[in-house]
């Protein structure tokens, strides 16, 4: 593990013992004039599952998009193992082991399932067949449909495909944006099980979810975003027990 630090470490940051796998420092991100993130601090340690909760428009997706290089922060830093990676284009960033499953699945509609998976391994010379078999093992439904076009899959299948595709790039850090959105309860359970399995096999996961209950059951730690800032940050179990969280994100009536 390369823990080399950049020569120019910005002043004012306290030295961290073992740098987190991913660290966001004081991140401010804009869409035009809209400030979507107003100074977000967040860290993900090796091997963890971290859940990121928040209302619509809180900036969860923006956080992930910044981490995977799709957006550049106006100020603040993104650090991967202590090295600054903000400003690196996403296609270069995948080499560093970041996989991003974007919001809304976004599979390649006119490619077959197999081609979609191969695209996930684009950064390698040729796709790793063992990895593909492992993914087909995780998602038997995809194996059945390996030559069907991505666009004709159902929502759940597309979600599986999107996750599988990201895994083909052998990421160390998997960013997932609302993987349970629009999925049948059964599939949601399956997906969370698969996520647990992936994590156990050594992939670190940063998970954005509306489905807070399940996300927190899976996660080690959780962050709650509110209008672009981190409002809470605790162990997952603590968040699960927090009355405010229960009211706002688990749908319990507070009274």
């Amino acid at each position: 593990m390369s823990t080399t630090k950049l020569a120019k470490e910005p002043e004012g940051t306290e030295p961290t013992a073992a740098p987190a796998l991913l660290e966001l420092r004081d991140l401010r991100v804009f869409y035009g004039a809209i400030e979507a993130l107003k100074g977000v601090n967040l860290s993900v340690r090796e091997g963890e599952v971290v859940a990121l909760l928040g209302a619509n428009g809180a900036g969860k997706s923006t956080t992930l998009r910044t981490a995977s290089g799709m957006l550049s922060p106006r100020s603040g830093e993104v650090l991967l193992r202590g090295e600054r990676i903000d400003g690196i284009k996403p296609h270069n960033l995948v080499r560093f082991g970041i996989g991003h499953v974007p919001e809304g699945r976004r599979v390649f509609a006119r490619m077959t399932v197999r081609e979609n998976l191969e695209m996930g391994a684009y950064r390698f010379k040729s796709p790793d067949q063992d990895e593909m078999d492992r993914i087909f093992g995780l998602f038997p439904r995809l194996a059945e449909r390996s030559s069907q076009l991505g666009g004709t899959l159902s929502g759940g299948e597309q979600q599986m495909l999107a996750i599988g595709r990201a895994l083909m790039g052998k990421p160390e850090l998997l960013l997932l944006d609302e993987p349970s959105m629009g999925l049948a309860p059964l599939v949601v359970q399956q997906i969370f099980e698969i996520l647990r399995e992936i994590n156990q096999q050594g992939t670190t996961v940063l998970l954005v979810e509306q489905n807070a209950a399940q996300a927190l059951q899976l996660a080690d730690r959780g962050y709650v975003l509110e209008t672009g800032t981190v409002a809470m940050h605790e162990e997952a179990s603590a968040l699960l027990a927090d009355p405010r969280v229960r009211a706002a994100y688990l749908g319990e009536i507070a009274e």
Partner: protein, 457 residues
Amino acid sequence: MSSGITKTASGGPASTARLRGVAWYQHPRWSRLTAMVAIAVVLTMVTGEQGTDRDIFFALREDFTGPLPWIWLGLCLLVWTVREFWSEPIRKVRRASVAKSDPPVAWVRGQWRGDRRIRQLVLAALVAVAAFAPMGLERYWHQVLVDQIAIYVLLAIGLNVVIGWAGMLDLGFVAFFAIGAYSAAFWTGALPVDPPFELNNFLVIPVAVLTCLIAGLILGAPTLRLRGDYLAIVTLGFHEIVYITAKNVEDFTGGARGVSGVEHFSIDMGFSYEWKLDPLPYYWLLLGFIVLLVFLFMRLEHSRVGRAWTAIREDQVAAAATGVNTVRFKLMAFAIGASTSGIAGVAYASKVGYFNPENFPLLASVLVLAYVIFGGMGSIPGVLFGAAFLVWLPEVLRDYVDPRDRYMYLGALLVIMMIYRPQGVWPSKRRQRELKMATEGTVDGDATAAPAGGKVS
């Protein structure tokens, strides 16, 4: 870099720095310098000698052995130096002046928005200026105003309905112009075939509008289901078919030799007046048409029809599900555009008296499209300006550059303009919003306005 398992953020600091683009040689300044050199080379060719086919290397040799490339290189480097090293003071000065001039602009805008009567008054004044200002010009400009500017402005107003409002990419718009002109010729008895009865040119207008409407429906009905780009090619095909038919069916259209002797406009009701060779009366007539059409169309824009068009443009499926009869509204736009074009055709034929199929080349359709988008799709003032300006420009350029090169400058202007102001000179509010949303990536936009490719830069 592409080893199986990436346990290391490969490469270390140097490589991340390079990828982040912060190394000194990655400063955009250097690519701008290359661009400047390239621009100097292009400018040398643009302003250099006229080539000759007798010696294909003649122009290149002359251009690059003379002083021209050095002059341009010097100028470009100067611009680059100023931009890279002195831009801050300049920007400061500009910002100061902008800040100073803001309140009156805001005041004017407030007045404009606030009071309807002021708006009407200003518009009336503008029309008056448009009507009387040309009297001070040479007759040459009168001719240009009538035969080219006014006609193309009419065409642009019509195409704006089709593309700016309904969002349909129509590359065959000038076909309707041709149909209008041939209608005028037919009903005034200038074609080889005789009409059942001859009509006064003013009466030809409704007939031509009807003809264009029918032609528009015939073309539109089977094809409007097609998506944007498919529609473009079909309309282009329609144009070719009309154009070639006009050329080939000699017994009816006179073929390539064209039509001559179309009568001029005339009024014969109690008093009589005939528009003759003098261009000014034609100008007033056409100005009348333009003002009338603009007035009518402006009402459409913010009505139910205009909204339905916007809806179709943005999301056809959703529009249909909301109860908008998409085919009907598209046909309506198509027909309105076609009729406007037809009116222009009648006016044109009556003014020049002689025309042939070469007056309606595909290029004309493309040009009108460029005028509309240059001015600002969907915005009437923009379209008026775009057409007038771009038709006028080659005419003045004639006096300053080799006339053979005029369209080269026009092309360059279009490219530069679109890069720096993609929304057009005077965009419509709705279109501007769409553009803004597309830029920020919140809206997918529609068949014709969707962002093209790469959302990531």
